[in-house]
Subunit: 458 residues, 2 copies
């Protein structure tokens, strides 16, 4: 079909959908650094992780060698409800920009969770169910991951307990109600259900909570309740594995029409979407079969790739989780309150960190108002109102397309449109009212957090 | 492909998408009654409608004879951005219900307006642009239509002024912000911009407004501002014409796999979605080629088909618009405040009213809590969180599937899933909290409104 006119949207047929996830670690010569036990500083063993995570997910987490992991039939059936997601040719955006570049985006927002998170939520819920568990616990900030997990658990008849950062619980009641509609119990964190919650409430009366605190509560409940485990929506190797379905579908759709992207652009918070999107392309790059420019885009207000350090750090603010080697700003770092949307994690997936450190991908940081300008521009010509997170990728895709306009180059750009912004209208309102501003942390601030990094000589 | 396994979702190829809308009036032996001039009680002529509506849309409104109206290329290109919409086989719902019925739904919610409204919004905006107009005005209640029109106008570079019922403007700030993001000016109604607005504000200080008042304001601005016209998102013949794209796509997808529905179910407020969904099927029925059961579902709190009368009435509460013959509760009728979501129009499309009067379709009314029960059940197994409006159709589809379970009949059910409920979480919250109730108007109440119907001897 190479010379056929490319349709606006390419949907794979059901029988063309991926039957296995791709594990990019298998093709990395230098593997990502292992998780360390914060007490012994030795690599975490499966049995040490077993009280927290499901068995099969631990196996996936630690497996650096198996290139393809079969997607269980039950998960493939669930994927068929909302996948394949479309690969969209952005004809209208190209025309409005007047660029010779060819722009494609893989749109993951056409499901009720509103993002790519569902790809891993159903996998994690499935393995929990298969292990005979009664339920899972997790934390959620903005609510995308909590929503995705609630949907997956409702489908499988699994109990789902979500610790939602209290300030989000109160300010984002609609996300909370979506989760409740899917039968999840949503608890504002810090709660009075857990030791850590009671402690924090006692020490900081009236606190609005934090993601770190919510993680600690979710882990405490998972490890102290028989039949429960904790699940996490980003950062981990297992999550990147599940999210490879994004890239595998995108690549299959492009191959079908003989399209080869020159550059692949994705937003990066914890790294799950970007890691998933680029995985098969990165695989070709690692195996020397093809070359691609790969660009991670992060907010200037939370610049772990572009201004962080590559070091061992805690995955959570509460310092209860293992240590991971990653590009990090320090586990106490929290973006300024004016920062809208997600992408507020202090660190970055170990896999992506290692790939970045090896020079296999680039990173760029963008200012918030520039991101919303791109979001609005995109919405008005392509129809879809994008999530603030996804709009980071849109910003850089537009910038690169405008460079092509200057040089006349007909480059092919692929970017990840991870989700929709329907639950982010408070941020859009600020932008519409002209009261959104850009806070960028100073070097002094970043140095302060960096000082607190754990001393690990690895 | 008749014997192939039916996929979860059927997407037409781009070249299989409809190239013409279908006008069901062409196949009706007895045509729908014409709009009447409220002064003369004579059928409205094109020139009388010209100050309010765009020329080409008036032609479509009055054309009872042309069966197929070509969809202009520009509109077809816009359709390609968010269409074809999927025809979904509800395998998970069937399994959970344990029914031998085969359930399909045509899902119109995968676009940022969140509903089927965009199908007509782009058509109306296109004809306004083609006529050389500067902009359009409209009213919106819950905001779906206003959002759709804003998107269409942003795409075409047309000015868009939306009068939004003040109470919705304040209680649904997110819908308002979506419209603003698409560049529309959104004015809470009653405003101080118009004579009628100032009059209502003076007479009812602090009023929250009504759809009738917002219509009057939008019409006043359209008729008093050079280069502007008024557009409407439902009820009108032209809107049903544009919405026929839903049914044409659904039928093409079914034909491709040799599927013939036994019954077709849709929710009905003003009738645009139902009219669009059923049109090609009704055409076959009118021409005696095939038979289908067709069921309109309306809220028990606003039961124009099931408890209204077939008579001439005003289309708007303000009594400034022409008279239409339709099933109506009386133009002063407003559903009880506890009624959630849309489907609150006092009347019904003239086309559907005539078809119903001829016994070519059935109607059923359902209670609000039963609707939300079905919505939640559907969300948990099919993933999609449905709009309250659409959930009326889900309720009856489930009821019919359960009848099949009793009788063992393998009927094929097609229903219209018109949109998503992401902006309706206040209603879901009420349901989740168990404080939603069902108000059904008494016969005495309905009689009171019926007394005020204009006396028209036609």
């Amino acid at each position: 079909m190479a010379n056929e006119k490319i349709p606006y949207k390419i949907y794979l047929e059901e029988n063309e959908m991926p039957k296995a996830w791709y594990n990019v670690r298998a093709d990395m010569k230098k593997k990502p650094a292992p998780l360390l036990n914060p007490g012994t500083l030795e690599p975490m063993k499966a049995e040490e992780l077993a009280p927290v995570f499901c068995e099969e997910l631990i196996a996936q987490e630690l497996d650096n060698d198996t290139a393809y992991v079969e997607i269980p039939q039950e998960i493939r059936d669930f994927y068929k409800m909302y996948r394949p997601s479309p690969l969209v040719r952005a004809y209208c955006l190209e025309e409005k920009l007047g660029t010779p570049a060819k722009i494609y985006y893989k749109f993951e927002g056409n499901n009720t969770s509103g993002s790519h998170k569902l790809n891993s939520a159903i996998a994690q819920a499935y393995y929990a169910k298969k292990q005979g568990l009664k339920g899972v616990t997790t934390e959620t900030g903005a609510g995308q991951w909590g929503t995705a997990l609630s949907m997956a658990c409702a489908y499988l008849g699994l109990d789902c307990k979500v610790y939602m950062v209290k300030v989000s619980y109160e300010q984002k009641p609609f996300r909370r109600e979506v989760m409740r509609t899917y039968g999840a119990s949503v608890v504002p964190s810090p709660s009075m259900d857990t030791n850590i919650g009671r402690k924090i409430n006692a020490e900081h009366p009236g606190t609005g909570g934090s993601l770190g605190c919510a993680i600690s509560e979710a882990v405490e409940v998972a490890t102290s309740t028989p039949g429960y485990r904790y699940v996490l929506g980003s950062v981990l190797n297992q999550v990147l594995l599940h999210q490879s379905v994004i890239g595998l579908e995108a690549k299959a759709a492009m191959d079908k029409y003989g399209i080869k992207p020159d550059m692949i652009i994705g937003c990066a918070g914890g790294g799950s979407n970007l890691g998933g999107l680029i995985s098969p392309f990165m695989g070709e790059k690692l195996r020397g079969e093809n070359d691609y420019r790969i660009i991670a885009v992060e907010p200037a207000s939370c610049p772990s790739f572009t201004r962080g350090v590559y070091a061992y750090d805690f995955c959570d603010t509460g310092m209860v989780c293992p240590l991971a080697k990653m590009y990090t700003l320090g586990c106490d770092f929290i973006p300024a309150p004016n920062h809208a949307g997600g992408l507020r994690y202090h660190g970055m997936s170990s896999i992506l960190s290692e790939l970045y450190d090896q020079g296999l991908m680039e990173a760029r940081s963008v200012k918030q108002t520039d991101v919303f300008e791109a979001a609005e521009y995109f919405a008005r010509c392509e129809g879809i109102l994008p999530a603030p997170e996804s709009s980071h990728a849109i910003r850089v895709a537009i910038d690169e397309a405008l460079k092509c306009k200057e040089t006349g180059e007909e480059k092919t750009i692929l970017f990840g449109l991870t989700g929709t912004g329907y639950f982010d209208m408070v941020a859009y309102e600020k932008y519409n009212d002209g009261i959104m501003d850009d806070y960028i942390p100073t070097d002094e601030e970043l140095a302060k957090y960096r000082e607190k990094l754990p001393k690990v000589d690895k």
